[in-house]
Symmetry: C2
Subunit: 715 residues, 2 copies
Amino acid sequence: MKKWTAVIIGILFISHLRAGDGYQLWLRYNAIDNAGLLQQYKQQISGIVCSNTTNTSQAANKELVTGLAGLLAKKIPIKSDVNTGSLVAGTPDQYPFIRSLIADTTFSRLGSEGFIIRITATPQHKKITLITANTDAGILYGVFHFLRLLQTHQSIDKLSITSVPRIKLRMLNHWDNLNRTVERGYAGCSIWDWQRLPGFIDQRYIDYARANASIGINGTVLTNVNANAVVLTEPWLKKVAALADVFRTYHIKVYLTARFSAPVEMGGLKTADPLDPAVRNWWKQKVDEIYTYIPDFGGFLVKANSEGQPGPQNYGRTHADGANMLADALAPHHGIVMWRAFVYSSETPEDRFKQAYNEFKPLDGKFRENVLVQVKNGPIDFQPREPFHPLFGAMPQTPLMMEFQLTQEYLGFATHLVFLAPLFKEVLSANTYSKNNSSVAQIVDGSADDHALSGMAGVSNIGSDLNWTGHPFGQANWYALGRLAWNHDLTSAQIANEWIRQTYTNQQPFVDSVQTIMLASREITVDYMTPLGLHHIMGYGHHYGPAPWYNKAPRADWNPVYFHKADSAGIGFNRTATGSNALAQYQPAVREQFENMNSCPENYLLWFHHVPWSFKMKSGRTLWEEMCYKYNTGVDSVRWMQRTWGHLKKYIDEERFKEVQMLLNIQEQEAVWWRNACLSYFQTFSGKPIPSNYEQPDHTLQYYEALSFPYAPGN
Amino acid sequence: MKKWTAVIIGILFISHLRAGDGYQLWLRYNAIDNAGLLQQYKQQISGIVCSNTTNTSQAANKELVTGLAGLLAKKIPIKSDVNTGSLVAGTPDQYPFIRSLIADTTFSRLGSEGFIIRITATPQHKKITLITANTDAGILYGVFHFLRLLQTHQSIDKLSITSVPRIKLRMLNHWDNLNRTVERGYAGCSIWDWQRLPGFIDQRYIDYARANASIGINGTVLTNVNANAVVLTEPWLKKVAALADVFRTYHIKVYLTARFSAPVEMGGLKTADPLDPAVRNWWKQKVDEIYTYIPDFGGFLVKANSEGQPGPQNYGRTHADGANMLADALAPHHGIVMWRAFVYSSETPEDRFKQAYNEFKPLDGKFRENVLVQVKNGPIDFQPREPFHPLFGAMPQTPLMMEFQLTQEYLGFATHLVFLAPLFKEVLSANTYSKNNSSVAQIVDGSADDHALSGMAGVSNIGSDLNWTGHPFGQANWYALGRLAWNHDLTSAQIANEWIRQTYTNQQPFVDSVQTIMLASREITVDYMTPLGLHHIMGYGHHYGPAPWYNKAPRADWNPVYFHKADSAGIGFNRTATGSNALAQYQPAVREQFENMNSCPENYLLWFHHVPWSFKMKSGRTLWEEMCYKYNTGVDSVRWMQRTWGHLKKYIDEERFKEVQMLLNIQEQEAVWWRNACLSYFQTFSGKPIPSNYEQPDHTLQYYEALSFPYAPGN
């Protein structure tokens, strides 16, 4: 026995060496360290019956075997007879006895992706844990859900779960270029190793697909929205097809970005006019060709007439004309178009806030059935806090897809711990006051307007770093996107809780502390970056760090000064009727929330009002004092995160402890930088001192303004 | 017992999940699977006594503990008394009893890096395994050597090893840019995460240092030879310092590339003339500043007046003037300059082969004592086969550093299995016929000319890929560089053998087969790419695949046609006295080997001669027939590698088996492509058919010529 103990210690020691690299994400499957629970689980799961006839069911089977072997520290035998397998995973077609247990009507509600997990019994009265669904994909999702229950130490002896996704298209958008750089990527380079595709299938592709399937993501756009037509050439389509072959097993469809001018660039046509028959034919041929390589190709994501990208407006056509042309080419193959609403004209001097609405609202009802309009969560660009986008609720005849950003372009890159579920939830739960007070979530999931299509996308934070996302807590944002796209009723706390347990440990003090940190983290970031409704005051181009003073951009609305409008009278962007009147784009009830400076929620104040420095806030402080308070609170709160994390060393491996510790140290330094730079700058307008009870800036404003960051990533 | 077995199986299962990713390189420390051997090892190593007082000794200690726990599947206790520790690792200063066992004269021969491993006894007659050295660095090297003996299942009961490095500077050169792209990198992006330095220390930095220390590498140039002055600014020097802090523990010094025009670009000077006092002073100040951040900074690697890089010739000065200026700034801090001889003028129409020699040979004796001239192994540019560079042996008063290329710029990128030790050895063992018939190795290690400095560098093949080098066998080239820099007498077979055992398995059939593949692989690549002395006929710019027809480059000597000179009369570059007379740069005895077409070794034939298509080869075939034979032999041999690998499935984990299988499939396709494209093209000159017993090209020459590779990596 002593000998065996030694061997185990040796092996554990070695396993431990690799404990910390984060590559396994939330799929760690470490042995359950609660002896009682382990015993219960092992009693309940003594054998596995799982179909093995398709690639997807094989994947489900393999995941079950692997996951349980790890979690239960025991290889659970595969059985062929359901009466000897205590865990049965399969469809009624595979195991007909299931029909006698679960009504057809129940199955019909599951659709093609839902699943049931239930404690039940075979006709021979053997108690079983059943995972069932209409499809192998549903089984795969059920298997991952079941493993999650074990990973998070849930009781499984009375399970009766029915789970159906709320949103149909649950997607990642990779802004990955063909040269493996990633626009707004902070985690190394693209994981798509185009050079060695299609012949070399990196294990990462498989693990990427597993991770996505485990949280319900069923689509991935491989390429940057600033698109490159080269990906539509034959050699590259073969590379894409190789990825699609890997992902298909995990019920993930592949999508590409379509460069609108491809017919000119590749096809040698004189125009890309979407109403030109030759252009329409070129796309039809191209799409047909794509489907010869990828029979279940998902479709196109398109950024057109935005930030210099070509589009239908180059030819006097509308976004609908452009989208419909592609939609017509895709329709025979059941492909879709996701047409982005992130547009702002290079000529219009109109408030950038208003432009997407102005361009798209009139097009409602003019899109084909296989088109979704993909709308960023807010009207500007993935700021730490934005009001929900006014298009939500304004285009009832069009399915609007939500675009969130996982990669932290404006939120501290891969260095700041910012859990984004609270941001996502804030937007999703916002009341649009359109149609029966629909929330944004109800618009997006299609329920408000009874759309057949619905979608939610996250702009990926994934790269070649060992731990995929650079910051280990970036993984939680990828995780949250998938979980919320499946079920937007989940709370941020639930998501944080299960992610922590799967990724780190189930030890309660650790879970509690880290959950508290995560739930607070986004508001903390708002405080030290852009409190009170400030927005887009980051460094020019790379968006790294503070640069509220910047005013040299080639267009006005790329300048921070455009967004904060600080002057000696006050600060903020008047978007009321006396200003740009962007508020008029919202329903009256929303408008009312925001239009009065005195009643506008203070966390949105400077989004909508130019507010005097001496304005009295609810706290009794003046606006200037409140701003000083908020920036300092942000810094203090990062220090609180540092202290809290500092107490958690004993619960996890040293490597992962240190990693977050180092990152929090950087976050603290950068929070101080944000505070000092912004207050030093805004002070030149407020004319007031920073109250002496706060830390004073340790450098001059000139120092902060002179900082430069060549090679800041993601640019 | 059954329960324990289950636990072990479970744990092993999980460990196995990560068995295949290659991150651990050759430092896997898997449990010894030979029970008898394991027993012997455990008997001999029952406790560890190892000093722990410095960072480096702590690292040695930790490596011993970790390595032995893995290899022996048992945690070996740390002891403080040498009489109870059966393995003692330390210097005589740490454990004075060692002086009674080993003579001072022996220690003095070890220098600052050598080590001794010996079975001996304490004064109290306790048998111990002793690892000793003059320094902690020597101990660290000894520890890695000892662990390697166990990893490779060597007998350790009669050890008596004394090991001293033959070459002083054992270096990696990273051609890594500050934006994390890697010039000629095929394994993802740079592992230097500049954005998060200095605050975030990636575990990869530590594991990189461990891997290097384990093979004796003691220096690393972090930045591309096509240099960027930004790395010399304060924020970046702080980032470099953070890396230096990590690497110092592992006895690795950090070096940077110096952009020659930095005084102009950064310093605002009007000139970078190395004789200008203001310029000299600027560098002195800059170097002094660097040493405030990095007290043991190694020095500079410089590419000047080559391929567009600025240099002293811009100001009418010599390479020696430039190198000496930097050397003077570095000398007070004991820093060095590595000045690259890879130069070819953009104006001179001279054979590119000759230019480095022409520029550098006259400068012999003019360099400061802390300058090495770094010379590529051959006169052109890292071809599959080159004659040794004529500078070796031609500059006796100057230490010449060897520059090999690990990254496979001209050798199939990260897709072809090419073990480079035979290439390195071929060069190192070449007889320069200078000074007592010195081999290139004797020139490089300084023994021929009694130089205090000596160096060998490998241009790194390391990137962000999980397995570091893209192709898993790329690791073997990194490994070989380190091992040969330590001891160039090692054979390629020895190196391959120990690498295979450490990286994959000790199972003899696997070791034998893979060793055979590795040793044959380089010659196979020569056969299907550039047989018979062909060179530099790769794709323009990216160097991917064959493009012997290419003739559009902005300068003649970037065109394949410049190098092969095929015409209806024959093929090859006449470098004899009737041609460019490059052969005159070698010693007469070398010249004699090559200058006669009839006696020139056939594997160098087209390097030196323009040979008629009907020329009779030793085989009796004509040159054209021989070329067809060679290209086909290359392809057939790749197929042999495929078959051989195909039989090895049972010896290793599936992931690593499949990975090489996929890569060999690509290599086979590309070998066929090389053969078909080259023979189709050269046939237009030879006018002869490809003998019908060979596979015929499956495409037209036009097809091959039309292939294009946008976004081929590394460019």
